[in-house]
């Protein structure tokens, strides 16, 4: 088990006052909150920061932690000394309202023995029923998956109380049918697939939030899908039929003559499927071939001579 330097995580001195710790925590929480931050590692950093604050905000836990001494370095192998917390009284169990599953082994070994108070066990022989907690996860799918619907197997981790009353992490595989037409940020609810209930309580639900994998040619805003269509200059100028691979399959698109780069062609109702499906916009992207051979250079020269075209004047590109 690795020692965790909670002061270092929050970026404060060991002598920091409580209000200083709170300030540092709030700042980092705003920075790394998974709802707010777009940094890759935000979720892990946020958990770390929360765990540190969970200990340092509470004078009882902080005093107990401080007592371990300041000679430890982050990541150093650590075993808590026996009876290290003797003489300290923790109120309200080891955990507060923060998500206990997010805490490290290090935290568990120090403060985890208060038990999972919010999970409720049988106490004094009285039967205890409670609905299981809802659980939440993200699932990344391809844009095409939303068009066709898809099946995914996901692996969920959850904690259960082991025989000794301490939580153990268990893995569970689940086959999920992703319905047609889901959009980014949308949630799918799987009734009864959250944490099991206590006693006769029902299991909680599982909520999956959809994110789309990035695609080199497609992008999505709401139900509207955009597709970049590379075309040759002559295709753009002369117009005609162009085969286009859409997320929905191949279509033959009629490109109007004199299409400009960046112009959008709307295919009504070919965006993400729904009762009122979104539209698909094909965005014209004119790609000019490089001139490398004499013949190609001659073609460009003929091209130049045929036009009296200066793209830097108003009659050029608009």
């Amino acid at each position: 088990m690795e020692y965790r330097d909670y002061y270092q995580i929050l970026g404060v001195e060991r002598s920091a006052a409580q209000d200083e710790i709170k300030r540092a925590y709030r700042k980092l929480a705003r920075k790394y909150h998974p709802d707010v931050s777009k940094e890759e590692d935000a979720e892990n950093r946020f958990k770390e920061v929360n765990e540190a604050y969970e200990v340092l905000k509470d004078p009882e836990k902080r005093a107990a932690y401080d007592q371990l001494g300041s000679n430890w370095n982050s990541g150093q192998d650590f075993q808590p000394p026996p009876d290290w917390d003797q003489g300290f009284e923790f109120h309200g169990g080891g955990y507060t309202e923060a998500d206990p599953e997010a805490f490290s082994d290090f935290f568990e070994s120090l403060f985890g023995r208060g038990g999972f108070s919010q999970h409720g066990f049988h106490r004094g022989g009285r039967q205890f029923h409670a609905q299981g907690q809802h659980t939440y996860a993200r699932i990344a799918i391809d844009i095409e998956d939303s068009y066709a619907g898809s099946k995914r197997q996901i692996t969920l981790k959850h904690s259960e109380l082991g025989a000794d009353g301490r939580p153990v992490i268990k893995e569970r595989k689940l086959n999920v049918t992703i319905p047609k037409g889901v959009t980014e940020g949308q949630q799918i609810r799987l009734a009864g697939q959250g944490e099991p209930g206590m006693g006769q309580g029902k299991a909680g639900d599982l909520f999956l939030e959809i994110v789309f994998n990035r695609h080199p040619r497609y992008s999505v805003e709401g139900k509207t899908v955009y597709l970049d269509l590379p075309v040759a200059p002559w295709e753009a100028a002369l117009g005609g039929k162009v085969p286009v691979q859409t997320p929905d399959g191949k279509v033959n698109l009629t490109l109007p003559a004199n299409s400009k780069s960046g112009s959008k062609l709307r295919l009504k109702g070919r965006g993400l499927p729904a009762k009122e499906p979104g539209d698909l916009y094909v965005v014209v992207d004119i790609v000019t071939p490089p001139a490398t051979t004499d013949a190609e250079r001659a073609a460009y020269t003929a091209f130049r001579d045929a036009f009296h075209f200066d793209p830097r004047t108003a009659s050029g590109r608009t």
Binding site: G185, L190, D285
Partner: protein
């Protein structure tokens, strides 16, 4: 113990409808807490006579607001503002992604 396959995946979108009770259960909140967020304008029920009905997107909005309040120590108004700004940022980021690829 737990079924391996789901048979009950439900998309929570604009067209799905939840009663106040269902919304409370989905968000693990009391009716009072949900009503307070309604007063703040975080969620709005459809009101065609009869009982209140909420769209599925309310679940995500409520849950985000609850997380923001709990983790960042902001009040209802602050969390509601953050939520709106976050949703706008999401739209802008999607647009930027589209425009930057070209």
């Amino acid at each position: 113990m737990l079924p391996e396959d789901d048979t009950s995946a439900v998309v929570l979108d604009e067209s799905s409808q939840l009663t106040l009770r269902e919304l409370c259960i989905a968000c693990s909140l009391s009716a009072e807490q949900v009503m307070a967020l309604m007063e703040e304008g975080v969620i709005e029920p459809h009101r065609d006579a009869g009982p209140m009905v909420f769209s599925g997107v309310c679940v995500r909005r409520v849950r985000r607001v609850v997380r923001l309040e709990r983790d960042l120590g902001v009040n209802h108004a602050g969390a509601a503002l953050a939520l709106e700004l976050l949703e706008e940022i999401e739209q802008l980021r999607a647009r930027i992604r589209r425009l930057e690829r070209r």
